[in-house]
Symmetry: C2
Subunit: 210 residues, 2 copies
């Protein structure tokens, strides 16, 4: 009896230890994976919109059901900007896309810190840039250069999301061109782009208010 009890308790101890260790390992792996799981989307724009029967080129429809509609792709950018809780840093050649710029204004109005860097092209005083300046958003641009452009096209939301690609934030780009845009929370991309933004911000000057 003594032998049986001793063996049983030893065995049960082993079972318990094993089960607990296995469970802990699985839980650790599960949450570890969840923690490091990234979300990445790639949007491919093309000018197919012209041949579809939607009207988004003229009036943006957040719920357009037409195939390949550029508004549905732009919606992803807008939803990403809408996630902002602290800051949005934008560094793009030009901004003239209304739905996107309206979202930037809405973010500013709910207290999000907005910083924008644009090029020194004619779009410095586009309708959208004027609107940003009027409501107090800080905009910088490169010093006037004849042969160089601030040609970057990226934005960082809350140090958590990166929007980056070939696309300027213009109506032409979103509805007229073949473009590609990455939206990701990969820190291996967000960190260098955040550092890059700060360096460009330092080297550019504030757009004067006319």
């Amino acid at each position: 009896m003594m032998g049986y009890s001793f063996m049983s308790s030893t065995l049960i101890n082993w079972i318990c230890i094993s089960c607990v260790s296995s469970s802990l390992t699985l839980i650790w792996l599960h949450y570890g994976k969840k923690r490091t799981k990234n979300s990445t989307k790639v949007l491919f724009y093309n000018p197919v919109i012209k041949s579809t029967n939607c009207n988004c080129r003229n009036s943006f429809d957040f719920n357009c059901s037409s195939p390949n509609c550029s508004s549905i792709k732009t919606k992803e950018i807008i939803l990403c900007l809408r996630k902002a809780k602290k800051s949005i840093d934008i560094c793009v050649f030009a901004i003239s896309n209304k739905p996107i710029s309206n979202e930037v204004v809405a973010a500013h109005q709910r207290g999000i810190l907005i910083r924008i860097i644009i090029s020194n092209c004619i779009l410095v005083y586009s309708h959208e840039v004027k609107m940003f300046l009027e409501i107090g958003i800080k905009i910088k641009y490169q010093e006037n250069r004849d042969t160089s452009y601030m040609h970057n096209k990226f934005a960082i939301v809350d140090s958590t999301w990166l929007i980056q690609g070939s696309m300027n934030w213009t109506h032409q780009a979103t509805y007229g061109n073949w473009e590609s845009v990455i939206i990701t929370d990969l820190q291996s991309l967000i960190i260098p782009f955040s550092i890059g933004f700060e360096k460009i911000w330092e080297k550019t000057i504030l757009v004067p208010i006319t």
Copy 2:
């Protein structure tokens, strides 16, 4: 009783060994994944080169030691193209950067399958595009459109590396502009860009040889 205890202890020992070995396997797999960590670089170009004392704007130096030299950043793109063992798919608005286009030619000459998509702009018949056509590289461009551009700027090497960003593969972009370029082996980016390339390749037409 002894028989029962012996059987139980053997069985339970086996269960314990299995559990422990399972845990160890899971941990090993977890660290195995960590071992296959991805490689990602982000290159930030800026026009600082003009104020440095190197001569790379006129003659590319693979080993230039000047700070912020664009040649050293372009070297990363060239070294990535040099890794190709099977294929290079390029989809950029324009190609006119000599060191990069020379590397494309070298890859073609060592049997790498090259496919290039460019825009329909005046650069269709740039010196570099003519050179590519002469040696038999397949180049496609979008059908002539007045108001749209194939504005993408990415390349895929062997379905293993993605080069992507704001930068056209031109001399102006590499030495004159503020640009950013990602070089990565992240499959979460390479897969959608590979699918995107095939779709654009289908929808574009071969550049006629004049």
